[in-house]
């Protein structure tokens, strides 16, 4: 239990304590405050756009490992791709061919991976109002690619810890569906957001904002909408954060309670070392990361200064509205699925009538066009798990659209837990090995393989997994036992 506590504690620092809005403003930096258009000042030829051995498959698989999946329907993706293409064609000539995927997450955000895929969270189509706004988000993400913002030491250092936290927590939460509110946070939109959230420094964000504005203007959009997009995202991000506040507070209490009972036995002193590491992290974040208001002000001043005429361009509303309307059913079902997931986390004891209503709504989310979507199917499977109907929960996973035969990481971890619940340990063991292989052996798969191997008496394989686990996750070696 102490190992689990350490990891959860680590997560709580990330999700609960590093509040960007509370951080002090430490003044503008010199690099991006000078006059002139960023796109004209920057030397793109000096950048190497080689990704080395990294393939798109590997890169996107890392996202799927920690995400809640993508939307299999192509309509939103193709629309966003046309906007991206317009931005790329009118931007600097570089050897990049970025692609769009629409990730399932109610948090209004986006992630870009080095090999060139931009993941837009589906909720952006709920919250944003026109094509100009989403063009800014896409242009901003593409700017991170253009400027090769992928070497943040802080994020690189922090990421393995967070992934470790997610790995363990997802697996642990699946073992006990009636565990505390905080622990049940894992596998939620919040957890997926936190683990996948990239960390950009103040300078990186300001550069991507300015270049994003340049690119959206070059593609014919109204740069004023960049400010509106940032305002809307800030507003809904705050709502999203607030909606999980109770569970976060519960998580802190659960951690403290568990930590109190296990600290004396923590021979690796992992808890304290993590606490120290995250204090350092918070200090660095406070110095480096911009808050929303600061970004908005910078974007507004830049637009006023450099694009006073383009700021009067007509907005591109009709096509955006048409695409959103055409996908309204999907967006509505995802919104309902999110509400169901929230209810399952926050309400450990639903009345029969409440559960019946929830189940009925969950059925609706897997009807028609969303019947095989990972986000909606996982929701239905969690409803089944809530009542201990593990066979039915597994059935829902089988009906989900997969990639190469695999589901997003949290769903595969659920599958392994539910196979164990239904006494299919051999199947669980085999699946754990397949999932481990596919996702390049995250820590949670090693832990499951070791545990299941012990139960099944596979001593030799268990020894092999322990050694491989320590070699691959040296920072978490005590969790490989």
């Amino acid at each position: 239990m102490k190992k689990f506590t350490s990891v959860i504690l680590l997560s709580s620092f990330m999700v609960g304590c590093v509040s960007i809005d509370d951080l002090p403003y430490v003044g503008a930096f010199d690099q991006t405050s000078k006059e002139g258009k960023f796109v004209e000042e920057y030397d793109f030829t000096a950048k190497s756009y080689e990704t080395g051995d990294l393939t798109t498959t590997q890169d996107t698989r890392n996202i799927y490992l920690n995400s809640l999946g993508t939307i299999p329907d192509d309509s939103l993706r193709l629309y966003a791709q046309t906007i991206l293409t317009k931005i790329v064609e009118n931007g600097p000539k570089v050897p990049l061919q970025p692609e769009i995927q629409i990730g399932a997450n109610m948090n209004p955000g986006a992630i870009t991976v080095k090999s060139g895929t931009i993941f837009l969270n589906h909720s952006l189509f709920d919250y944003l109002e026109n094509e100009d706004q989403i063009a800014f988000i896409i242009a901003h993400e593409y700017s991170h690619l253009l400027l090769q913002h992928f070497t943040s030491d802080l994020f690189t250092t922090m990421h393995p810890y967070l992934v470790t936290a997610a790995d363990i927590a997802v697996g642990q939460a699946g073992k006990n569906p009636h565990s505390g509110k905080g622990i049940r946070l894992y596998g939620t939109d919040l957890m997926a957001r936190d683990v996948l959230l990239p960390f950009w420094s103040r300078q990186n964000e300001a550069e991507a904002d300015r270049l994003g504005v340049d690119l959206m203007v070059a593609a014919g959009y109204n740069p004023n909408e960049s400010l509106k997009a940032l305002t809307i995202i800030d507003e809904y991000e705050k709502q999203f954060e607030a909606s999980f506040e109770v569970e976060r507070n519960a998580l802190e209490k659960e951690i403290l309670a568990e930590n109190h009972s296990s600290k004396n036995n923590d021979k690796f002193n992992l808890v304290e070392s993590i606490q120290t590491a995250f204090k350092d992290l918070q200090t660095t974040v406070a110095k480096e990361h911009p808050d929303a208001q600061e970004r908005m002000q910078d974007v507004f001043e830049y637009t006023e200064r450099e694009y006073s005429e383009a700021a009067f361009r007509d907005l591109t509303k009709a096509e955006f509205a048409s695409v959103v309307a055409a996908n309204q059913e999907i967006l509505d079902k995802y919104k309902k699925a999110f509400e169901i997931r929230r209810t399952l986390v926050s309400e450990p004891k639903l009345s029969a009538a409440q559960f019946a209503e929830l189940e009925s709504t969950a059925r609706w989310t897997i009807s028609g066009s969303t019947q095989n979507h990972p986000y909606t199917r996982q929701t239905m499977s969690l409803v089944r798990e809530y009542k201990g109907a593990y066979e039915l929960a597994l059935k829902n996973l089988e009906l989900t659209e997969n990639t190469d035969g695999f589901l997003p990481g949290p769903m595969e971890m659920n599958r392994i837990q539910w196979l164990k619940q239904t006494r299919q340990n051999e199947e669980a063991f085999d699946r754990t090995k397949e999932v481990g292989e596919y996702y390049d052996w995250p820590l949670a798969t090693f832990r499951e393989a070791i545990e299941l191997g012990q139960v099944l008496g596979k001593k030799q394989e268990v020894t092999g997994f322990r050694l491989a686990c320590v070699a691959k996750h040296p920072q978490s070696r005590d969790l490989c036992q």
């Binding site: 919250y127 109002e129 400010l227 002000q297 309307a325 919104k335």
Partner: protein
Amino acid sequence: MKGTLSFWGEFGEMLKRWFIIAMVMLLPFAAAKAMAEDMTPAVVSLPGLNLKLYSEASRDAEIVDTIMPSEFPPTVLYIDTSSNGMHKIRLQNYEKPVWVKSTRVTLPKIDRKVEIACESTAVAKTGQSGKGLGDRSTCKKN
């Protein structure tokens, strides 16, 4: 009879004059009341930066005035929104309506009333707009 008619005629004339005077005097109050009923809350973003008031919604527009957000009234009379996302509003102390960028001045009640043009086959259901939690949009058929 003639004298009586004349009395009533003069009295009628007098009443008519008083009525007109009363109407003229009450008109500003009535207009103010009507205006107050149409007033909508306004929120200015970036409180530390000046806000420009424009004469029209085009790049040739004159800047009528530049004010601090703290000087901006909490409610305004909304008139229209242009295709480039500017709001036409009436402010007290300004003879003519002014235009402001909707990125700076948000009118929560107006901005959320989303009217979209869409395909006849893709009519959004009322109450399931997706335009933010709890908001509604309507789908106008072309």
